[in-house]
């Protein structure tokens, strides 16, 4: 691990709550770690568990997924549907030996700018501790 290694954290958020929450973190000038990249989707219901795999394949060290709190979904139930998918994906990843700390799920509302900033910092710190996700990334080098 090089000394100035920074984790790559891919973040999938819904447009209505968490994207707006991240915007609020910005307008409130809450500082957070610069190693996240946000990908906007309309709703956490649109977030496919396979995005996580894709992100790991492309070199992500962690994936953060965040949507509206239960009951707040702009589309009423997208986040509830998403939650079930995440439950299954988590179990599967854990069976495969993939550290669940690298896949973080959160609810973050449009008013929780501070929560978003803290979340990013916490995740970033944690992943720094865990180091790069070499196991997955190295799968590439092991072609038969």
């Amino acid at each position: 691990m090089s000394e100035n290694w920074e984790p790559k954290i891919v973040t999938f958020v819904c447009n209505w709550c968490t994207y707006a929450g991240a915007d609020l973190a910005g307008t409130s000038r809450f500082k957070y770690s610069p190693n996240i990249r946000i990908i906007k989707t309309p709703c956490s219901g649109r977030i496919d568990p396979m995005f996580i795999v894709a992100a790991f394949e492309k070199g992500a060290d962690a994936v953060l997924i965040s949507g509206c709190h239960p009951g707040d979904c702009h589309y009423n139930e997208g986040n509830y549907n998403a939650r079930r998918k995440f439950i299954m994906m988590r179990r599967l990843l854990s069976e495969l030996g993939i550290d669940n700390e690298r896949v973080i799920f959160a609810w973050c509302s449009a008013s929780e700018g501070i929560k978003f900033a803290r979340l990013v910092n916490e995740v970033s710190e944690k992943i720094k501790e865990l180091g790069p996700f070499d196991e997955y990334h190295n799968l590439d080098q092991e072609e038969r």
Binding site: R37, D48, N76
Partner: protein, 658 residues
Amino acid sequence: MARIGVFVCWCGSNIAETVNVSKASEISGNIPGVVYSVDYKYMCSDPGQTLLKNAIKEHNLTGAVVASCSPRMHEKTFRKAAKDAGMNPYMLEMANIREQCSWVHDNKDEGTDKTIDLIRMMVEKVKRNHPLEDIKIPVTKKALVIGGGVAGIQAALDIAAGGVPVVLVERESSIGGKMAALDETFPTLDCSQCILTPKMVEVSQDPLIEIMSFSEIEKVEGYVGNFKATIRKKARYVDTDLCTGCGTCWLKCPVKVTSEFEQGLGKRKAIYIPFPQAIPSRPRIDPENCLKLTKDRCGICQKVCPTKAINYDDVDRLVEVEVGAIVVTTGYKIMPVSEFPEYGGGRYKDVVTALQFERMVCASGPTLGELQRPSDGKLPETVVFVKCVGSRDPEHHHSYCSKICCMYVAKQTMLYRHKVHNGNCYVFYIDVRSNGKNYEEFVRRAQEKEGAQYIRGRVSQVYKDGEDLVVEGADTLTNSQVKIKCDLVVLATAMEAPDGIKELAQKLGISYDQNGFLTEAHPKLKPIESSTAGVFLAGCALSPRDIPDSVSEASGAAAKVLGLLSKDEMHKDGVVAFVNEATCVACQNCIRVCPFVAIQLKDICNRKGEVLRQVADVNPGLCVGCGTCTPSCPSRSIELKGFTDAELFAEINALAEL
């Protein structure tokens, strides 16, 4: 080949302070597919927008990325500018380098690197974007209002005032609803009928409003802008076109039965109008009590009818109406006293509901306003009002507050004292909730000037001791038990969702809560919209509320309807789901997860019309673009325009190059 332009905004120093904008622009210029890149102080300013427009034209751009503030701020601005310059607006994306970069980071190198990443991600997305068109939906410029109480009346009048025809459906034989049965209204004590009946007449005379009374909704099909409602016009046995409402029939009818409108306190005939000011002022025959219809005797009404309007062979008829929007104002019912045996409800005639009390004091009521208790006609010298009966009682009945009881009980104490100047009146209450304009003053007046005695506590039992009713309860302010002998007990029973509301909600595809009240699309920001586009809600159908609230909501719903129907076509965002029919296997996952019932199965037929197979089919009019369907599809045959897998993967893929 993609020809993409990148526009990096300084936002004054907001971005430029933490991001090396010229470097970002320069490096972005090297991203494959980018043919033009520039940085500019204020992209959102007029010159900034002109810069964008000119670049689109000069460089023949197929797509653009504006790296600046949040798309929530200016996506519309830039997409409009792009459209003006001849580019499909959906081919422009924004990289959020202010809220999500410059404002949250300090280090200029890191900020610059992240900015370039964000731009790269959006460039890759734009490369895969497709031009999208707004969805255009033709609308039927006609509205349906379900429920002819004061809310429905107001909604119908306001919609008609906007020039849009309205069908007003009421299941009783007259419009007017509960308000027609009230005596006087709080907090002004003006006579309910004096303020309501003119509105009823107005409705009946408005050429744009068609009243379908004694009718119910049978079926509703279609979607926003294009509903088709089937309405059951129940057999009335009176031809409303021939009838003039002269009244000869109900004067001559020999059958007297208990009047629903009088809350069981008065009588009506078997052919009747529920109350004298009924609209339409056309009677109906009650087939369960009419001698002709039950025993084939009598037939007097037909004989005396001067216009030959009586038809004993009448049957239910179904009519279809096509409408663009629907307003649901189905109101409420109140819990009957029989639900409260501990208060003697159903056992003692002199334990009545507040609505019965209204009829007992109303000048047009069964006693013509002379206050008599039901059991023996005696003038009640002491009356006890009990509030929160069935409301705020989660252990036994409803947890919610019925909201209007505090006010109407204050009113009824005054009505009582105006009739019986020396009468005693007591009110058992939990809290007094008087949060409306002039409401607190009104309650104070009842307590301080009009002699109502308020006791804070609940009633445990009402029983008969000899001729007297005895009310036992607690006074929690003096911490004592109280026992009051009285002549009449008025229970302010809870307001409940009316019968049939769940069935109606299911027909309309809207949701209702555990109490049966209809659910608003958003409790704060969409309080009069349902979860189904084009269906609006007002009044007590949503939850207990008073007349001014119901009326203002009705006007609000009318404004929503007029807005919706103001154009020949509705336009909505092109971000909707679409199905790849070649690969869809109709497993119905998408149909099951869609919160908006926007997806249905469709038959794929051959030329002979034989069904070959089925596929999912999105109604773009109903689809709101949440994309929950996409991950549910195992063969990835349903995708969301504007957020396709290819587009989102491009963003993820861009990370590989970081």
